[in-house]
Symmetry: C2
């Protein structure tokens, strides 16, 4: 349909996984005039049709070849466990200079897998926007999701500087504050401030479903504290299953640190150590109040 | 100052602990015309002066005798560990028919201690409004805090029906939805939906301060998930120290249930059991989504 050459038209974007993350990127990129046609790929036909109806994507690709044809940028916003096979499926049909980026919550292993799948590994640029919520699906997408939110890029020694600059411009263009970081460092940090808290929130709700008091009776008395603490436990299980495995080393290390902290608190309660308990709670309260002072 | 007898004037209220909980009750009770003079008692002179300046209390009592003189209702809204000694200090100076109620987050042990301290144990009515937040102090008080929030009353076989009715009328008068419940049942439920989640939130922040990655670097990347999950870890440590000890049996039982759930999740990650992990997360996500459907 394009009348000019590929260098003249606006970049064609493929979004694989048109949910909260991918759909919001598409809406914001279009609003900012960063892209031309947006092609959607996904597991669920109904979600893709909703995305098209909402104007998030222009068309639904029927297969990887159809999606990849003339695409300039691929954004993988699917569960991290499926990203490498998506890249491999697109690659034979993609232009040699097409850029591959992602929005996965884990980076080191995922980026290595994407570099292995993409025949021009320099054109792979790992990205992780720190945004999102427990909502999901194209219906949850909104153009403002990334406004003033952090986005971490994790270039490797192989990353092409021009590709990195182009992906940075896209994320900055949708409003994010972009930082570059080593992928392993990213995983160590996010494992502790995001992945472990998600698993802890799931465990709090799971425990309520299996407690000595019936769950219905328990949850009838859930106040704001329980609701806030467990809000993220409504997140899609398949996403967090993939994240936990993709970042298993940092997740297990973070869980061990968490268990040690909880056992310290529990031990104080069991032993009747009031001073020890107050000291532990005060250390946490001070750190949490300082965090509140930093704003969101 | 009163010109009529004690039966003619509006009830005089003593609030011991004029923070978020006690101060909000005072503001709402006055706004609803439920009480006359409101006398404040507390540990911190500066907080009491702020409460007086904000119109939450009419005067500051200088000692227990001064507070208790001609008082009709005592509301103990101090840390649960201090409530029994406050009751004992007021009792010698209080009128024989004065009612004692509280707003403590634990009930069985506390109410027993209050009944022991009050020479008319039938006039003790345990109460727990399920409201509040991580904020504290008189400056955080607001008249709307209890509007449409649950309040659990825990009468015992000794409780005088007229006293119970009067305390119920006060809590209903400030807007709460009042339920009566056995105190031990209350403690078993709240231990799991409130006390354990608080300790877990404190442990998440405590772990971040002691992780293999420096806390400053970790917390710089804390997103909405971490912030929501740990919001209640900013709560006053001395309150939660007291609550943990006052409800130690249910707290330890709830922590054991939580650890079992977390170990199930952690075990799946460690073993690479994708189906087991997804099933556990899905059980929690379904329960949490159902809870969201119930509204707050």
């Amino acid at each position: 349909m394009s009348t000019g050459g590929s260098s003249a038209r606006a970049p064609r974007l493929v979004v694989a996984g048109v949910g909260l993350i991918g759909g919001s990127f598409a809406l914001a990129a279009r609003a900012a005039g960063l892209v031309g046609e947006i092609v959607g790929v996904g597991r669920t036909r109904r979600n893709l049709e909703e995305a098209q109806r909402l104007g998030i994507i222009d068309r639904i690709a029927t297969d990887p070849a159809d999606a990849a044809r003339d695409a300039d940028v691929f954004l993988l916003a699917a569960p991290v466990g499926t990203c490498a096979s998506l890249a491999a499926a697109f690659r034979p049909h993609a232009k040699p200079d097409a850029i591959l980026t992602d929005a996965g919550s884990t980076k080191a292993g995922l980026v290595a897998a994407l570099e292995a799948a993409w025949t021009s590994p320099g054109l792979v640029v790992g990205a992780h926007p720190i945004a999102g919520s427990e909502t999901s699906g194209a219906g949850a997408a909104r153009a403002e999701l990334y406004r003033d939110r952090p986005c971490i890029l994790t270039p490797t020694p192989r990353t092409d500087p021009a590709a990195l600059a182009r992906v940075r411009a896209l994320w900055e263009g949708v409003g994010a504050r972009v930082t570059e970081m080593d992928a392993t460092r990213h995983d160590a940090i996010l494992g502790r401030v995001s992945h472990v808290p998600h698993l802890v929130a799931y465990a709090l709700v799971l425990a309520a479903t299996e407690a000595a008091v019936p769950a219905d009776e328990l949850l009838a008395w859930a106040g704001a504290g329980f609701r806030d603490t467990t809000r993220i436990a409504a997140s899609p299980p398949e996403l967090w299953r993939d994240i936990a495995f993709a970042n298993a080393d940092a997740v297990l290390a973070g869980l061990a640190e968490f268990r040690a902290a909880l056992e310290r608190i529990e031990g104080c309660v069991a032993r009747g150590d009031a001073a020890g308990l107050e000291a532990a709670l005060a250390t946490a309260a001070t750190a949490r109040r300082n965090l509140a002072g930093r704003g969101s």
